[in-house]
Symmetry: C2
DNA sequence: TGAATAGTGTCTCTCAGACACTATTAG
DNA sequence: CTAATAGTGTCTGAGAGACACTATTCA
């Protein structure tokens, strides 16, 4: 932009929106928050929640406002970060729209999705979606968000963002297993996460298991924002035998 | 954006630009490509290269075009990826400008920077810049780009993007040392990078060292796009004694 | 020859993964 | 008691870091 002249006639009308990839874990599966479109194009189709950035609003603030409007979730416990921007000229057929996508991870909300001007809002299992189910390029954004979430579980403690304020090591392990779509050795996982200083803070409380089993200690998330050494998933091709 | 009405009067005039954080290694230091602004605000100050996204141009294409215009570098050998977007309401005093920042890594160009409409263009050592040297929020963008570049050296082979087509293991090690601002054990580094299948492809040629020393084998970059296991830098606080 | 740089061998320590084993609950 | 889940101990193999040593060049 260094030498540009700022005359509105120099550039076309561009709309800037934020779109949100909001993940949670419901019924043992990774789910994403979707809204049903009420207007053309793509009326009746599902899409990511989002909306215009307002004149005096920063991008992060717009994302947070849209999230509040569409979910009614308190902003406290959830993780929100910028994902990427998408601006292909024809991604919206009506006009040029550049969207800044955000990734949000939240615990399973006990209250069903509330408020907002979106008529129909639902959590949908990511595994049940295919490329043609979402409007615009939202499937691409979703896939990028999924990849980012999977990667961040490795080297940050964001997996705790899927858990309630107090949770067990098994709860956390199930988050990893669901998001990575894999199984982990419960014993090694326990040793690893409890051994990483600052990842989890033990409380003096425990859960009760309904049909037997030793009670599990409850933890809250610690202060770390980077896991070192990281949690590992297999990146190499699995061995054939 | 699901339920929004697309009437231009619904949103303010917004300009979308791309800005580029272009890094190279010059004279043993990490350097960034800067242009000197010719117009207000910030006339005479340095800024990141960039410009408007054109009406029928995707964001990536705009970044690549700006890069070509300002540097004249062939697009072949260089790494270009989206970094993040910045849209604070007052980041440009004249109007609302949302910019999509890109990160680019390139070998040291032997030809000085060419072309473009920027009058004054220069490679500047990153270490010589401080927070007040750049216009707008460009210092923040630069810092984000630096952090991204440092992180990507860990788990991808992008360090080779700083090297010419053929390079030695020592060349590659110097890239790591400069970008991470650290020193690495040359022998362990050699064992590590040559032992990672697909990172480097050996040629049958060698360099000649001007004042003695065994010739070094030349390599080209391999096909890998993810390093596993990653290159490690110390993330923990160094031990006191 | 010596200085300089490239590259290998080897030891130790940490840690991931496999998995036997102990601990604590409900019924 | 048994079933179930939580949590520990221990071995093995891979790999990072330290660093002695060999290899190959120029002056």
């Amino acid at each position: 932009m260094a030498n540009a002249i700022y005359d509105p006639s120099d550039f076309p009308a561009v709309a800037v929106t934020v779109d949100l990839v909001v993940f949670t874990i419901r019924d043992g599966a990774l789910a994403v928050l979707l809204v049903r479109r009420g207007i053309e194009p793509g009326a009746g189709r599902w899409a990511l929640p989002g909306g215009f950035v307002r004149p005096d609003e920063d991008l992060d603030a717009a994302a947070r406002r849209e999230l509040d409007e569409e979910t009614g979730l308190g902003t406290a416990r959830l993780h929100l970060e910028q994902l990427a921007s998408y601006g292909a000229p024809q991604r919206d057929p009506r006009m040029r729209v550049v969207t800044v996508a955000y990734l949000c991870l939240t615990p399973d909300p006990t209250t069903p999705v509330a408020g907002g001007d979106a008529a129909d809002v639902a959590w949908t299992a990511v595994a049940d979606l295919d490329e043609t189910d979402l409007a615009f390029d939202h499937h691409r954004i979703l896939v990028d968000g999924l990849q980012r979430a999977r990667a961040k579980l490795e080297y940050t403690p964001v997996a705790t963002s899927f858990c309630p304020a107090e949770f067990t090591v098994a709860d956390l392990r199930r988050v990893y297993e669901i998001v990575w779509n894999t199984t982990l050795d419960a014993r090694n996982f326990h040793r690893k996460v409890t051994g990483t200083e600052g990842f989890l803070l033990p409380t003096d409380r425990t859960t009760v298991n309904p049909d037997g089993g030793r009670p599990a200690r409850l933890y809250t998330r610690g202060h770390l924002d980077l896991l070192y050494p990281p949690m590992l998933r297999a990146h190499h091709a699995p061995d054939r035998h």
